[in-house]
């Protein structure tokens, strides 16, 4: 037997192809998949969210309550709590009591969590000057709860997290990641959802004070905050805020909502009605 040591001319084990082209192709495919899943989830969650029972929502709320953002918030003064309850019973059909918490945070912000917890920052409480503004903010957040907007946002995040942990073998358990849903619930809502929540805020003002003055003042605080930050100022140069104010003005005209005097918020909100 003759031994003829030879090397092959080409290495068949190295596939030809451009790594950059591969990368671009994969990025395009991955983006298409993510967008596809997100859009599909959006439709699915929008259909499912309204059917989630209030008991389930309360259970989710109880679970989310363990998140540091909610855990470190302190209970709101009795008067704010009473104002929220008044709005809930008079202008929404939310069947469970809401809890208002205050979070030490200079940002002008407020958000609601499924299960009826609303968090106000000290920043927003410092900024507002009237009980009417407070009522509008509470009404707006109650509107999000009543319309199940947070469940929709959470549902998408939850399914995405589940998918990613299934595929990527994420070290975090799904349960652990669930806590971060609170942060996800702070994500922006669609323009339509915001408009409906604004209308709920206007209804809240009507139900408590019998007029709708106070809503526009709330928007002015957000505009003030934007002056300090180029990026948010840029974002706000968009006519969004103006169109929201205009929508409320138009609605007030159509519904015949009157204007009225502001009720001062000093030193603590006093329930006027």
């Amino acid at each position: 037997m003759k031994y003829t040591p030879r090397l092959p001319e080409t290495n068949v084990n190295v596939s030809p192809g451009s790594p950059i082209k591969d990368l671009l192709l994969m990025l395009a495919a991955a983006s298409a998949i993510v967008v596809g899943i997100y859009v599909a989830l959006g439709f699915a969650v929008d259909k499912i969210a309204p059917h989630i029972s209030y008991e389930t929502e309360l259970a989710i709320g109880g679970f989310l309550g363990k998140h540091p953002i909610l855990k470190n918030a302190s209970p709101a003064p009795e008067a704010i709590q009473k104002l929220a309850e008044t709005i809930r019973t008079r202008s929404t059909d939310i069947p469970f009591p809401v809890t208002i918490s205050i979070r030490e945070d200079p940002q002008v912000n407020a958000f609601a969590v499924p299960g009826g917890q609303i968090v106000l920052t000290t920043g927003i409480l410092d900024a507002i000057e009237s009980e009417n503004e407070l009522a509008f903010i509470l009404g707006h957040e109650l509107g999000h709860i009543a319309h199940r907007d947070h469940l929709r946002g959470m549902g998408r995040g939850l399914v995405l997290l589940t998918l990613s942990s299934l595929v990527l073998d994420a070290g975090d358990s799904i349960g652990g990641s669930l806590g971060n849903m609170v942060v996800l619930t702070e994500l922006t809502f669609t323009r339509r959802q915001e408009t409906l929540a604004d209308e709920a805020g206007q209804d809240a003002l009507m139900s408590v004070f019998g007029h709708i003055t106070g809503a526009e003042q709330v928007f002015s605080h957000f505009a003030k905050r934007a002056e300090t930050n180029y990026l948010t100022r840029f974002a706000l140069s968009h006519p969004e805020t103006q169109s929201r104010i205009q929508h409320l003005r138009n609605r007030a005209k159509v519904e015949g909502f009157p204007a009225g005097p502001l009720t001062p918020l000093n030193p603590e909100p006093q329930l006027s009605v």
């Binding site: 003759k2 003829t4 092959p8 084990n13 299934l166 073998d169």
Partner: protein, 104 residues
């Protein structure tokens, strides 16, 4: 090309040998198969998607090994072996190797 995993080709004589030839490939299936496989873990059973993955890999590795042998002027590969290893989650390496020979 004669492929065999014994050291000879029965009925033929090896007249020349060219040394080791090998073919390898590392493959993954797509996202859908990976998700189904994870779900299958819950109930058990054959992970058909991964069975196909390894089948395709073996075929590709064998073809590459054969291509190498052809380049050397061989008409048979004897003593073929397969090896596999896990490279990343959901991906497998298939390595096929053998001795390229010419038989008469």
């Amino acid at each position: 090309m004669i492929l065999t995993n014994i050291e000879t080709v029965p009925g033929k004589t090896i007249v020349e040998h060219f040394g080791l030839v090998s073919g390898n490939t590392i493959r993954a299936r797509h996202l859908g198969v990976d998700i189904l496989a994870k779900l299958k873990n819950l109930i058990g059973g054959e992970l058909r998607g991964y069975t196909k993955l390894l089948q395709d890999s073996r075929k590709e590795a064998t073809e590459r090994m054969t291509a190498q042998a052809e380049q050397l002027g061989a008409n048979a590969i004897v003593n073929i072996r397969f090896a596999t290893s896990s490279i990343a989650g959901g991906a497998a390496e298939l390595y096929a190797y053998g001795t390229a020979v010419r038989v008469e």
